[in-house]
């Protein structure tokens, strides 16, 4: 199934991946091939099958409402590419 160039660019935008024209073309071809392959699943009748949405069969564990501070803010900020006043600084969104 051919995934169109528009679809490739749309998905890339959803995924925040800047693609060159070349890459978009190449990726489009590879994605089409993979999606073609996986379409084999259509051969299976799964109407009455319950999806495996969770790998473990039990209820989610819960924790008590107790505060445990991490205690090292500097460590959390230390990897920041750009920081200012203990905040993470990022470029503004440009409104087109």
């Amino acid at each position: 199934m051919a995934i169109t160039r528009e679809e490739v660019l749309h998905v890339a935008r959803l995924a925040r991946l800047a693609l060159s024209d070349d890459e978009a073309g190449r990726l489009g071809g590879q994605l089409s091939a993979i999606l073609d392959y996986v379409k084999q699943l259509d051969r299976l009748d799964t109407r009455d099958v319950v999806p495996t949405s969770h790998a473990v069969e039990m209820g989610t564990p819960m924790r008590d409402d107790v505060v445990e501070p991490f205690g090292d803010r500097e460590a959390l900020l230390a990897n920041a590419p750009d920081r200012h006043n203990d905040c993470f600084r990022v470029p503004r969104i440009i409104e087109d």
Binding site: I3, E7, V8, V11, A12, R13, L14, A15, R16, L17, A18, L19, E23, L27, Q30, L31, A33, I34, L35, Y37, V38, K39, Q40, L41, D42, L44, T46, V49, V50, P51, T52, S53, H54, A55, V56, M58, T60, P61, R63, D72, A75, L76, A78, N79, A80, P81, D82, F88, V90, P91, R92, I93, I94
Partner: protein, 491 residues
């Protein structure tokens, strides 16, 4: 024993010798660091080596031991960790440019356990970027080589760990397995690799690829080593909601037990394909004979949905990955693109620059499979087929205690041989993927060599939380087929 070089000792032997003061941790660690220095420029199993820190840890271990304090079963023994486990204060890259300067302020659960057992951390092993790959060729840091033949791949994504273990550059390591990433490289490098039951080992601090499939597990040179290491890293962690609170059995004892009466299932679908090399088939048959010679019986089983496993996996794993990798947006840590105008451009170029091709491919497939209008046909459908695959195994385990299959369809292929076509690469995982989808545990144990001297492994699968069965069966294979476990590589 006295003539066996230090780097060829097993994990348990090394631990015993340190404990009994036949060798100091300093000497042990020094020996391995020297070997890494000599060999790793060729093998490239390590992304980060920690000579000073390791030496300091080793010294500390020796001091503690002098005072009669032993931290745990691996006191003073040097090991390595796949660079997917966060290690506080030590850069953790996940094989990616986007994290190549990331310094985590916390340890993974696995890291805590291994260090808590007294081990010395030699360094962080190379891996396919974000664990996406079967050859360690997608690493930003360049590929790792198979120690048995440096022109070949070691397998992936835990190729660095498997290679390091096989080259005697650590006594054992911990890797991760999402679709075969521990078992397949273990098979290709002639060592033992275990993917535990999903939920057996906490995923806290283990950088996520596909959350419902990922598991951390041991890679070591013997079944007993792997059993001992799993015994250390298994266990409950309240920081991981998907990890199961169950007691950890004595895996080491299990490795000694007899397979008499074991029903060994051979899933017929795994032996039918043309992709299975005759040498691999022959070697796996030897493993089977090893089991039947020791009292196991063969049963034929069928896993009818096997041929759909690859498709199921290549929808579910990328979908989860696309969401797990969205946090790498250049805001709080990791690589950030420069010279951008505006937020969207910053994020898009950061990720374009920071991710390699395979990661981009999977993020795109995953995003597509979850997107509006396609969810039911792709992701939703795959989740249903996953149920069918799991049901296949449940049924098979009614008549078999353990399943025996090849781990990989061929021995190690050459670097660059399969990078041209993604689908071809994906086919390396056909035998290992189904087990991740079902959540059951699997082990790869060496069972032979190809005519070219390349290792071949056999895979054993058991039902959930029956790792003991795997160790018993694998131990039996190992005892019957003693094979060289350290590649003949010299500096």
């Amino acid at each position: 024993m006295a003539n066996v070089p230090v780097h060829e000792w097993t994990l348990l032997e090394a631990a015993r010798k340190v404990r009994e003061k036949e060798i100091s941790s300093r000497e042990l660690t020094g020996a391995l660091l020297a070997r890494i220095g000599a060999l790793d420029p060729k093998v490239r199993a390590y992304i980060t080596v920690l000579p000073e820190a390791a030496a300091a840890q080793a010294a500390e271990c020796d001091e503690e031991q002098a005072k009669g304090v032993l931290r745990g079963p691996f006191h003073g023994v040097p090991i390595g960790l796949k660079d997917i486990f966060c290690t506080r204060g030590v850069r953790t890259t996940c094989g990616s440019r986007i994290l190549h300067h990331f310094n985590p302020p916390y340890d993974a659960f696995v890291t805590e356990k291994v260090l808590g057992a007294g081990a010395v951390l030699l360094g962080k092993h190379n891996m396919d970027e974000f664990a996406m790959g079967s050859s360690t060729e997608t690493s930003f840091f360049g590929p790792t080589r198979n120690p048995w033949d440096l022109s070949r791949i070691p397998g992936g994504s835990s190729g660095g760990t498997a290679a390091a273990v096989a080259a005697g550059m650590c006594f054992a390591g911990v890797g991760t397995d999402t679709g075969g990433s521990i078992r397949q490289p273990a098979s290709l490098c002639g060592v033992v690799g275990v993917k535990p039951t999903y939920g057996r080992v906490s995923r806290y601090g283990m950088i996520a690829f596909a959350s419902s499939l990922d598991q951390g597990g041991p890679i070591a040179r013997t079944v007993a080593d792997a059993a001992a290491l799993l015994g250390v890293i298994a266990g409950y962690d309240r920081r991981d909601s998907t990890c199961v609170d169950m007691p950890v059995p004595d895996y080491l004892a299990a490795a000694e037990r007899s397979v008499k009466g074991f029903r060994v299932g051979l899933p017929k679908e795994y032996f039918e394909g043309e992709g299975l090399s005759p040498e691999v088939r022959a070697a796996v048959e030897k493993a089977l004979k090893a089991l039947t010679d020791q009292g196991a019986v063969v049963v034929e089983v069928s896993l009818p949905h096997t041929s759909f496993a690859l498709s199921t996996y290549y929808l579910i794993a990328p979908a989860e990955a696309s969401s797990n990798l969205a946090r790498y947006d250049g805001v709080r840590y990791g690589h950030r693109a420069e010279g951008v105008s505006g937020l969207i451009e910053m994020m898009s170029r950061t990720r374009a620059e920071g991710f390699g091709d395979e990661v981009k491919r999977r993020v795109m497939i995953g995003t597509y499979a979850l997107s509006a209008g396609y969810y039911d046909a792709f992701y939703g459908k795959a989740q249903k087929v996953r149920t069918l695959i799991r049901d296949d195994f449940n049924k098979a385990f009614e008549s078999a205690d353990v399943l025996l299959t090849p781990t990989a369809p061929t021995p190690a292929f050459r670097l660059g041989e399969k990078t041209g076509d993604p689908l071809t690469m994906y086919l390396s995982d056909i035998y290992t993927i189904p087990c991740n989808l079902a959540g059951i545990p699997g082990i790869s144990v060496p069972c032979g060599f190809s005519a070219d001297g390349l290792p071949i492994g056999a895979q054993l699968l058991s039902n959930s939380f029956r790792e003991e069965t795997l160790f018993t069966a694998a131990g039996a294979v190992e005892r019957a087929l003693p094979l060289r476990r350290v590649a003949p590589l010299e500096g």
